[in-house]
């Protein structure tokens, strides 16, 4: 008996002890800031001693914590942050503390950040905006947008702003990227010239096929076509998943059709895969495509492959490659909200966060600092209004490699574009490119699987789609036999219910 009591007492005591320890831990993470961000691949803003000191000296100025995707090496960001804080303190009465998080760990790390108040302004990225909203990870921005400066309101068209509304509420602000996509074939420039073809003459899949067969003939030892990246043959084509990048229930013809079907019975998709399968049979394709870990770009530049297909903005092709537009500029229903900026609902200072957000969209000095870095250190101006890396520096060796990653930053018009982007008026051209893009009829479609009552079917269909989609796109599977089988499995998993629900929502949207 005594033994049991003693044991109970010990358990209770240790429970109290550990609870106390946990409580202490919580307190630490609150005051320390960036507890989530400092683990793994993130560079945490707290290291920037300069800015913290500055904030203290300025008294009560709120410090807004912002989490942004960081692609390349960003070791110099504390210097940039310090420069930005000078402007922010003077003009806006706030300070900023950046956390740049790598793409690979973005989802996990931001998920953790959003469980607390360690971040105020954040990018919503890599999952549909609707998922963030339904998880309660976004703040209603209606009032902020209504009271924003005219300059801010003029940045986006109504259609573009509507693309970030869920159930009529503005939950996020789109950033400046290409919303529309050209679908292009990129070829090795030297080899293409040697074959006697011109990039601008290649306009259809038949043209492309002719060139590819010619290339295969002449260069049989390299891959003729490789995936765009990993196992993804090309990131989209002419089908639109209606608020859904997983393509569970699609409309074809660049989003101009109005009948929702299973991807595996979509004529565009079947035609595409029939063609790639022929290429595969004839030895043009990569047999290991499903376990490929490289980008097409790298493989073509290394001379290991001749061409790849990709989605693209108006940007110039990478060095040594040519670009031929096969499917011209269209915007699918998820593109506008694919990367957006908003405010963490748990933020203790949403007003200051909005001030920062608006400033990063409208203040050219701040935008230039954020994207290009510090003049003289990270870039030098050219006469034509573009900028270059200082001598001997490239995008990958720069200590503030954000200039080519404008597409992950809030806004860039007015910022001098880096020469790598191909044109001194690149950002203005980009806005034009977006405005000229053919918009899918499904634009503004919100896929709320919970509200539609199709969550379980969706999860089931997703795993069927994952099973066949890449194998078919890469030509490894024979559409003659596999397509029907894949469609049957989709039907068994409830695709018909999903298509019906999506069709009803689309009809409502088109009214």
């Amino acid at each position: 008996m005594k033994l049991k009591k003693l044991l109970g007492g010990l358990l209770a005591a240790s429970m109290v002890l550990s609870l106390a320890a946990c409580g202490g831990g919580d307190g630490d993470s609150q005051t320390g800031g960036n507890a989530g961000g400092s683990t793994g691949g993130a560079v945490s803003g707290t290291e920037a001693g300069g800015s913290a000191g500055g904030a203290a000296a300025n008294g009560e100025m709120p410090v807004v914590k912002a989490a942004l995707p960081g692609v390349l090496d960003m070791t110099d960001y504390p210097l940039v942050q310090e420069e930005m804080n000078k402007i922010l303190g003077e003009k806006y009465g706030i300070q900023v503390e950046f956390t740049f998080i790598g793409m690979g760990s973005w989802q996990q790390q931001t998920n953790l950040l959003l469980t607390g108040s360690d971040v105020d302004m954040i990018a919503y990225f890599q999952l549909p905006l609707n998922t963030f909203v339904s998880n309660g990870q976004c703040t209603n921005l209606d009032d902020y947008v209504a009271n924003a400066s005219d300059e801010f309101k003029a940045l986006f068209t109504e259609e573009q702003m509507n693309g970030c509304k869920i159930n009529g509420v503005q939950y996020a602000i789109p950033n400046l990227r290409n919303y529309g996509n050209d679908f292009i074939m990129l070829c090795d420039e030297a080899k293409l010239t040697e074959l006697g073809y011109k990039a601008e003459d290649i306009k259809t899949m038949d043209d492309a096929e002719e060139v590819l067969y010619a290339a295969h003939e002449k260069y049989p030892d390299i891959y003729t076509v490789v995936p765009q990246s990993n196992a993804t043959f090309v990131n989209g084509w002419t089908w639109d998943g209606l608020g859904d990048q997983n393509y569970i229930g699609v409309i074809g013809n660049c989003g101009q059709d109005t009948t929702v079907t299973d991807i595996f019975e979509n004529p565009d998709f079947i035609e595409f895969c029939t063609r790639t399968h022929k290429w595969f049979e004839d030895g043009l394709m990569m047999g290991d495509a499903l376990s490929n870990q490289e980008t097409g770009n790298v493989q073509v530049q290394n001379g290991a492959a001749f061409a790849y297909f990709a989605n693209s903005s108006n940007a110039a092709p990478p060095a040594g490659l040519t670009k031929s537009v096969i499917v011209s500029n269209w915007t699918d229903s998820t593109n506008i909200s694919a990367l957006t900026y908003g405010i963490n609902p748990l933020s203790t200072q949403p007003d200051a966060a909005w001030t920062l957000l608006e400033a990063l969209y409208t203040d050219t000095d701040l935008m230039t600092l954020l994207i290009d870095g510090i003049e003289g250190t990270h870039y030098v101006m050219n006469d034509d209004g573009s900028c270059s890396y200082p001598e001997g520096v490239t995008s990958s060796s720069s200590t503030y490699g954000n200039a080519t990653c404008y597409w992950a930053m809030p806004y860039a018009v007015g910022v001098p574009p880096i020469t790598d982007l191909g044109s001194p008026t690149f950002f203005d051209d980009l806005v034009e490119f977006n405005n000229a893009s053919k918009v899918s009829k499904g634009a503004g479609f919100v896929l709320d699987t919970d509200a539609m009552g199709i969550t379980d079917e969706y999860a089931a269909c997703l795993s069927v789609k994952d099973k066949y989609y890449n194998g078919l796109m890469n030509g490894i599977l024979d559409p003659e036999t596999v397509m029907a089988q894949a469609h049957q499995e989709m039907v068994d998993s409830g695709i018909e219910k999903i298509c019906e629900a999506k069709q009803a929502a689309l009809d409502e949207l088109l009214k």
């Binding site: 358990l11 240790s14 609870l19 999860a459 089931a460 997703l462 795993s463 599977l477």
Partner: protein
């Protein structure tokens, strides 16, 4: 009488105090997080947090059972683990006994190190070793075996029928070193007097193994098996996700519960459903331990864990 029990208590106090660090660790690491189990029954809302998110009953669980994959992934998880437990044990015990029969101490050490190396390699690296064998364009099997024989290369990563064997092979190769060392440690702990007695009685090597070594290993085998049975609903995520390179075509034979949950959740980002799957796994795992222990108790009461 009283004095004695106080002294007894004092003595035990010392023992109990030694338990404190471990107990605290268990409580912090294993018991406190159990509050999180409620997430499985909630629609998790980040802005409201764990306690204030609305309850949704069992709706987070339905997707596990509604899908056509449910049967597949449960079958895969169970059968693979069963194969791993049985083949793994047989293999590891055999290796342990062979090690014990070796005369040279140097060879014993060398083999142990060699056996342990695969266990220490990360699954990601293993996946590339496997890929080096199975790659369609450049793999060893296609290029150095099948093509010279005049056969057509096989696209391994799209042919589900080979994968049960590949996965079992990889698992055994990677894991046998570790478990065989555990068994080997037990084998060398067996009283050598028993072997001497057996030799005097005229037992040959086989008989010594059968009548002395194996009975000596019985308790360890049962304990190890019980521990594995408790995890029969969990799968080695690295093995089933990394080694098949997440090839969709193989899903029917490589999709285990963990892989399914991981894929579903990285794409759907639904905390409630992932907790539900974890909850389901642990409940079933717990029942399996009870069941296995019950069976062991029926057969041989002394060997049961509790």
């Amino acid at each position: 009488m009283k004095k004695k029990s106080i002294r007894n208590l004092k003595m035990k106090l010392a023992l109990f105090s030694m338990m404190i660090p471990g107990a605290i660790y268990l409580i912090i690491n294993n018991y406190i997080p159990m509050f999180g189990l409620q997430i499985a029954f909630k629609k998790y809302d980040y802005s409201k947090g764990m306690w204030k998110s609305p309850w949704t009953g069992l709706s987070n669980f339905t997707y596990l059972f509604k899908t056509k994959d449910a049967f597949n992934m449960t079958r895969n998880t169970l059968l693979y683990n069963l194969a791993f437990i049985i083949l793994g044990t047989v293999f590891a015990v055999a290796i342990a006994i062979m090690l014990n029969e070796l005369r040279s101490a140097k060879a014993k050490k060398l083999y142990q190190v060699l056996f342990l190396i695969p266990y220490l390699i990360s699954m990601v690296v293993v996946s590339y070793i496997v890929f080096a064998f199975l790659s369609y364009d450049n793999g060893f099997i296609n290029n150095s075996i099948l093509l010279p024989l005049g056969a057509k290369g096989i696209n391994w990563y799209t042919e589900p029928k080979y994968w049960p064997f590949i996965l079992v092979l990889v698992h055994l190769w990677k894991g046998f070193g570790y478990s065989s060392i555990i068994y080997f440690a037990t084998v060398i702990g067996i009283d050598s007097a028993l072997y001497e007695a057996a030799v005097i009685d005229g037992a040959n090597s086989w008989q010594r193994i059968w009548h002395v070594t194996l009975p000596g290993l019985k308790t360890t085998i049962i304990t190890m098996t019980l521990l594995s049975v408790g995890r029969i609903f969990y799968s080695d995520f690295g093995l089933f996700y990394q080694v098949p390179q997440n090839s969709g075509m193989l899903a029917n034979v490589t999709q285990t519960i963990d892989v399914y949950v991981y894929k579903g959740l990285t794409q759907l980002n639904d905390v409630g459903r992932s907790s539900a799957a974890g909850f389901y796994q642990s409940i079933v795992g717990f029942l399996m331990v009870l069941l296995a222990n019950f069976i062991v108790r029926k057969i041989d009461e002394e060997s049961a864990l509790f």
